[in-house]
Symmetry: D2
Subunit: 359 residues, 4 copies
């Protein structure tokens, strides 16, 4: 089966590198074009990118010539790791011109007709693409994944929506890779924490409600709840941990909640995708888990780990949730979203592949 050509926007940055790392040996997709800033364009990827992940970039990608953002791309599927400003109009242009764009950028996440997709949580939101295409007259599409700190929150809460989420109080301890490279100065992160992450508190308070909301056929009804988020930065490379307190209208027993988590499965359409973990989440019974370094790679970095469920004297329930912020929380989620797009038939040129998969 021939693989689908893929372009990576913002390929030399930290998230761009993660895309390239995760797409190595992908069964359906193949990196075919790497796009960088004007400073990088024209050089080989190996020269242009200061590789910050483990090891070295794959040799075939290292040999590619980096293209500029305003070049034309032939790849039907585009992953975007662009900075916010660069993403804003270019992603819309590419979708308009027929590309399926899966973006990790925040610029267009809250547009009413852009699905904010996490397959295990809201795979049905994908059908917002039909609305998007109809209204905008696009053949391509634009779907987004959420802020990396929102992921473990919505993953852990999805099984609890049925109890009625009345209030949500979040305090994050976030890894430095969330700020890219060079990102956070080591002068701020040795023997220190920073109790502020620009922009993330707002994103947690809005994106979580969109992702846990319901698709009504035309748009997403935000989850009707109140959310308070505090975001802090800690000296950890990868893995965002969120301390979550939640008020539930029904008052389930703690054991019921753990059962809900243990039994939670992704929607049928999101199972068996190449990048899907066997289980989307796990509850850890050790009293001092989850921990970033020890649990971020669960399920190849795509699983959310939950622990420390107990009563909260103020809101009723509290626990901690963790996921890998640049795998599950960024590039890995975009790739999973693209896989869902493929099996759902939204990538025209990949229909045959999809059919092949189904038989």
């Amino acid at each position: 089966m021939p693989k689908l050509d893929v372009a990576i926007l913002g390929a030399t940055g930290a998230v761009g590198q993660r895309f390239i790392q995760l797409l190595k040996d992908h069964p359906w997709f193949e990196v075919s074009e790497v796009i960088g800033s004007s400073r990088s364009a024209g050089r080989t990827y190996g020269e242009a990118a200061h590789w910050v992940l483990d090891g070295n970039p794959p040799a075939d990608v290292a040999a590619m010539t980096v293209k500029a953002l305003d070049d034309d791309f032939h790849s039907p599927l585009v992953f975007s790791a662009l900075p916010k400003e660069a993403a804003k109009t270019r992603e819309l242009e590419l979708a308009a011109s027929g590309h399926v764009v899966c973006t990790n950028a925040s610029a267009n996440r809250m547009l009413p007709d852009v699905p904010l997709l996490l397959p295990e949580v809201n795979a049905d939101h994908i059908h917002l693409i039909d609305v998007q295409r109809r209204r905008r007259g696009w053949r391509g599409a634009l779907i987004a994944n959420s802020n990396c700190t929102v992921m473990p929150v919505v993953m852990a809460l999805k099984p609890l929506v049925k109890y009625g989420i009345r209030a949500l109080h979040l305090v994050s301890e976030q890894a430095v890779s969330g700020a890219g490279y060079p990102g956070v100065s080591s002068m701020d992160m040795i023997d220190n924490i920073v109790p502020y992450v620009p922009g993330d508190e707002d994103k947690m308070q809005t994106e979580s409600r969109k992702m846990l909301g319901a698709f009504n056929g035309e748009s997403i009804n935000l989850l009707d709840t109140v959310v308070s988020a505090t975001c802090t930065r800690v000296p950890v490379v990868d893995g965002h941990l969120v301390n979550i307190s939640v008020e539930l209208a029904d008052e389930p027993a703690l054991t019921s909640i753990i059962d809900d988590w243990d039994r939670y499965e992704a929607p049928a359409s999101a199972q068996n995708l190449p990048s899907a973990p066997a289980y989307p989440l796990q509850y850890l019974h050790q009293i001092d888990r989850p921990q970033p370094r020890r649990d971020r790679m669960a399920g190849m970095g795509m699983m959310t780990s939950i622990g420390r469920l107990r009563e909260c004297p103020v809101l009723g329930y509290k626990f901690a949730a963790l996921s890998h912020n640049t795998v599950r929380g960024a590039a890995g989620c975009s790739i999973l979203n693209a896989e869902l797009m493929a099996v759902a038939g939204y990538i025209e040129s990949f229909r045959s592949a999809e059919l092949a998969l189904e038989t």
Copy 2:
């Protein structure tokens, strides 16, 4: 003026060392006896103690012979940095036999007749000593300081008690020195955080209510509120930061609260003590402060730094507070408590000094 002899229990441990460091050149008190475990007793302090603070122990203390816990002590004033179990009965025995014991141990903190003292917050609780002496027939006394994570919380909240504290939600990011030495393994603290600190969540939920409570002449009425605490450990040497959300019955403007903090002064009896900072707290206007490494030494480590006051969609108000956990939060607070005891006339042998001070 002759100084008052002081004994340090648990002198070789991390908090014991901080007592010795802070008492160097103290104007009223002089370390005269150092008490350690049976393993340390009989050796010089310099040999027995693996000094973990900066530099080296003071030469005079390094030359002292370490005494055993069941030896007799001549010092009228005793500072205790004992482990919980060792503290439980020995502190009571010493108080019964005439010593004024200022303890950092948790064992006896919640006894109804033991004041849990933070001079800038509840200096009047000191008079619980009269009840203690009357009931127990002691000439000595036992006063405690709270858990180190409670300090920044009660310091920041004291000026807000007048608004009616309905609910309190706390998430801490705590330094490793809170666990002593060797304490937390470096295998747990490089590229990692641990979302659990044994025992601290309970202490935060109970001790905060005692410290912010009212002395009714016979006992302390706990503050009538509900508290939820989550405690986590981060790779920081010194300085506990707490993310605080609070519901206030009155609904003051944010600016009023900052005014309250800016104008807050310690009670008259607690001002001008040798270890008292010029101001007990400061509000920092930079959006990314307080930070442990940069703010823990404010006011020689005795000041609490507050920042990021903003609305909390769930509870109304949220902010961050920080103080140095082994200075303000442990040894420094015990010393300040002893200074308050001295000026309040509770250390019999020190009356003359007190009178000298007043004139």
Copy 3:
């Protein structure tokens, strides 16, 4: 093909855990017995071991009951991660009673008839086992791997022995996992380094000469050179980096040395072993590599990475070498040694497997 039963001594410690992790899904060996201290014996491994590696212990091992060190073991192959004192006589007893013991402990490394084996470097030293068996009348055997900091040194120097190593100057920057768990206190490793690692300087100065020495049919002639080692501890979880300066009698060009490294292959007998990396070492051309976090997992943690070769004004040549201290430098090397023992026919009960492999 039935797998060979394996016992792990010191199974609950940090290196013991690494053995268990690396032996999961091993094609030839299967963990059958886990042995711990008297405190652990009788409990399940899951209860007894505080797992410090990523994730959780394999479920089948977690369910095993931990045995005591003086119990009898049925496994023909024994891996030892014992503390030095415990290892000293017990390893000899087990070898005497027929077990093939591959040890990571330092106790017996320098015994004249114990091979200090690193297959890619000195696979031929394995025949010292014949001497060992003859002299001691053993059916079993005892082979050791070296100190974890010696590994990257001898791996990088082996291809240069032909030039005549006149002097060797080593300064290490070692990860904390080398000290086990809890090992190094976090109070010593945040914003700090410790310029001393107990015992390691001596080991580097002696073990390197044994490993690079020549087997003369009866014993090992130590490499005739002078070695100076300085060992320091840095805040890194895994991966020892050594700054190496070397004086070579011949004076090869820098490019010749890089060629030697690029072309270096393990001896034939050590190739194609299940745990052998495709290449034993790699030279990295980036000016700021090797780095512990980015290069320690090269070749599944079994490869040595070298970089920064340049002239040394004092000794002629200098460069940096790195390998993973608990994979390549401990458990992984012991396993590789056992694999070499198997294919070399020294594990009697595994002969058939060996033959199967050869056909």
Copy 4:
């Protein structure tokens, strides 16, 4: 006594901030002008500088308006924390126009008529200023301090020059503050070290020979020795540790060397300066010292700590030396150099002060 006005070039950077911090309450000098980049010029210092040291900038400096580098300055004494390129010509211009410029920049350090001054090591090199003024026709002057990693090396070696230094082998473990702010990315410094510091190896190999050289009345004769330096970066905020091996022509006993260090005093002209430590260096007898976090603040950050003296099988002697890289190794040394200039009569406008000091 009126204080001397001082200008700080590059005042908003990390070293500039350290100048401002150390000059607070200086008895002779007073910060009067702060100079920054064109981006900072015209704003108040408080707005322009992202303060990265502890606490906040002094209020009076925070209120000053930042000047541009090509403005005129009235301050007779100028401290330069400029980047290399900016320093190159501007420092010469300022010296030509009558300012005494004490620079921390590397641009002009190796000019033959610029003294590379560390008062405790080579106070007599100050008279190179006479040559400088004569040749260049300057009324002002330019003196430099060395690279921050060179300081602990020359400080520790100065007392050993008398034994004949034949060879010097250096391996540093350097703090991140040496790279300024933001400087080293936290992505490179969590669970990692970087075995390369751009430019520093060359500086160590050349500047050390100039500082330990002899002033012959017209120029500096470099110390006749061979130096090999390897520089690495470690996750430490402040404090450079250097592992030093040295070959000495005479072969003193280890105890003689420790005696030399214990008895070492600064030259008479460099004693009693306001920023001079009581002793320029200390030998620590604990086996695991010096350590950056625990020893960098010895002597208010101006003292060098030495430890672990022992035999080196290759070069004869080895030990570790540490000093604070932004205090002793940068701003603090520049200030001490300026104090020496003042008492030596090289700052014309400060003659009266000097006289006052002598009486």
